[in-house]
């Protein structure tokens, strides 16, 4: 359909969500904004292929997700500066404890396989249905469900199980290993 005023406004209104998705995927604020810009340009250039009445955010997210994946393949193993850059995108600095917890969460999220991370973000944060998330990722609904489940269990393992050494060995273990 042609770019009407209302469609243009809707596209612009999707920007905050697109940015959040891009930052969650890439962990890098500057790169995320470039991704969003590229997404908007593609969307406007291909606006004729958008079906009126269909889900505009899902359409935009699909474009961004595909751009991210092709970009990711190119940049794989390039400098990882997610922490520093992400922190810059925060408007208000959280308190130190909250900040640490946030960094920990961010780091754990970055450890997930990309398929799982994007599924989790789409369903758990962007608020898409499993069906829409499946369309965005070009896979079956069941695949999305299992990716989300695996993402959740991996995060909980990273954050709340592997992390148990934080509490120190318990008395029994201490006795066994003779820790004085």
């Amino acid at each position: 359909m042609p770019l009407t005023d209302s469609l243009r406004d809707e596209i612009l209104a999707s920007v905050p969500n697109l940015r959040a998705f891009a930052i969650s995927l890439s962990g890098n604020g500057d790169r995320a904004d470039d991704l969003v810009q590229e997404t908007l340009l593609r969307a406007l250039a291909n606006i004729d292929s958008f079906q009126p009445g269909s889900n505009l955010p899902a359409w935009l997210f699909t474009i961004l997700r595909n751009l991210f994946r092709s970009d990711y393949r190119k940049r794989r193993r390039e400098v990882e500066d997610s922490d520093g850059n992400y922190a810059k995108t925060l408007k208000s600095q959280p308190s130190q404890n909250a900040h640490l917890e946030f960094e920990e969460f961010r780091a754990a999220l970055d450890k997930l396989p990309q398929d799982q991370r994007e599924a989790l973000i789409l369903v758990g944060a962007s608020g898409f249905s499993y069906e829409d998330a499946a369309k965005i990722c070009g896979c079956a609904v069941g695949t999305i469900k299992s990716r989300v489940n695996r993402a959740r269990s991996k995060l909980s393992a990273l954050l709340y199980v592997e992390g148990t050494e934080d509490f120190g060995p318990d008395d029994t273990v201490r006795a066994v290993i003779g820790n004085r």
Partner: protein
């Protein structure tokens, strides 16, 4: 003192962990959503709108002394 994460059951995907993960994920995401639309993007759309390539029916905006009120 160490941070006070309660020692939760190993391997257990309990509801408390899941709700904490969901909460953290949304907190991270919503923090960005709340930043709204950076000028950069509003500007971009405005410019593209004004110079709309490939769709000749679009009239230039703003630089013509034409009122749009009578459109509908």
């Amino acid at each position: 003192m160490k941070d006070s994460k309660p020692p939760l059951a190993k391997g257990g995907l309990n509801a408390e962990i899941q709700s904490r993960i969901g909460h953290q994920l949304r907190a991270m995401y919503d923090d960005v959503v709340r930043q709204g639309i950076p000028d950069r993007f509003a500007e971009l759309i405005r410019k593209l709108d004004a110079s709309e390539p490939g769709t000749p029916q679009v009239t230039p905006r703003g630089d013509l002394d034409v009122k749009n009120d009578g459109r509908d």
